[in-house]
Symmetry: C2
Subunit: 136 residues, 2 copies
DNA sequence: CTTGACCCTAGACTTAACTCCAGGGATAGG
DNA sequence: CCTATCCCTGGAGTTAAGTCTAGGGTCAAG
């Protein structure tokens, strides 16, 4: 039903420090404290941490997750469009990175394929030449 | 024929600080200094800086570019295979990132497409629900 | 009552690749 | 000579998301 920080962390596969860090970032507040000052977490906190981790795995930053949580907490009064907008911004973001990585991949593949990769000296290595070319 | 740091930087579209930073990282040494201590760069330095920037645009880190430069400087005695190996490691690296980003893209697209995005309250928003789901 | 496992805080450190700052010197044009 | 523009150094700051450290308290078992 309720647990300490160590159990919460290990249930989610993160470090204790990470949980405390999320708290400092106002992403996750413990349900209470013991007399001795230990944080206690409920099942709700477990769900919340998992929410955060899922959003992270989709590429959201902690700052963006904060926004998502703000919307989530106040769901009744927030339009779906606000949530979808965040998701779409992030999607565009991911798409840009994909494009850029694709560009790198194509260019690097091209010059790598052209290289013999043999044991002969790299005096005329086509990779080094491509990086050193006069044009562009 | 030869220039100061400002001209070199602007010819390559980087900041002066960046050039000095590359020098600190032992990527780019000026050809000399004026009496007054100003760095002077030759056409060779210009090529070298462009080499660095091209490698960077292919996804190499500065540390990896250092290795490339080490090989390049000693081309005669380095096998092509060493160069190609660096390129292939980087390619694999890029491919992993592409895979991961593709995974994110698919997942986020799926849950985003399912969201109405309308002005109605997000009480049952499918994006929030997907992030909050019990399973997985 | 002692041991070991757990927890607390505040704050420093990490990585990459810059970017900025203070305080000052060099150089060219008028 | 004055001014504007360039340049110098050493070192600090930036960003994201943690990770680590020192020094200490809590709690349950034996």
């Amino acid at each position: 039903m309720s647990m300490q920080i160590g159990e919460l962390a290990s249930k989610c596969g993160v470090r204790i420090d990470t949980v405390r860090y999320y708290e400092k970032q106002k992403l996750l507040v413990p349900s209470g404290r013991t007399e001795g000052g230990y944080r206690i977490y409920s099942k709700v906190a477990l769900r919340e941490l998992r929410f955060i981790l899922r959003a992270k795995s989709l590429g959201f930053t902690l700052k963006e997750i904060q926004e998502l949580l703000t919307l989530k907490i106040d769901r009744e009064n927030q339009p779906c469009s606000s949530v979808k907008e965040l998701a779409e911004v992030k999607l565009k973001d991911i798409e840009e990175k994909l494009t850029e990585l694709g560009r790198m991949h194509n260019a690097l593949t091209a010059i790598t394929d052209a290289c013999c990769g043999g044991e002969e000296p790299a005096t005329a290595c086509s990779i080094l030449d491509a990086l050193d070319k006069e044009d562009s």
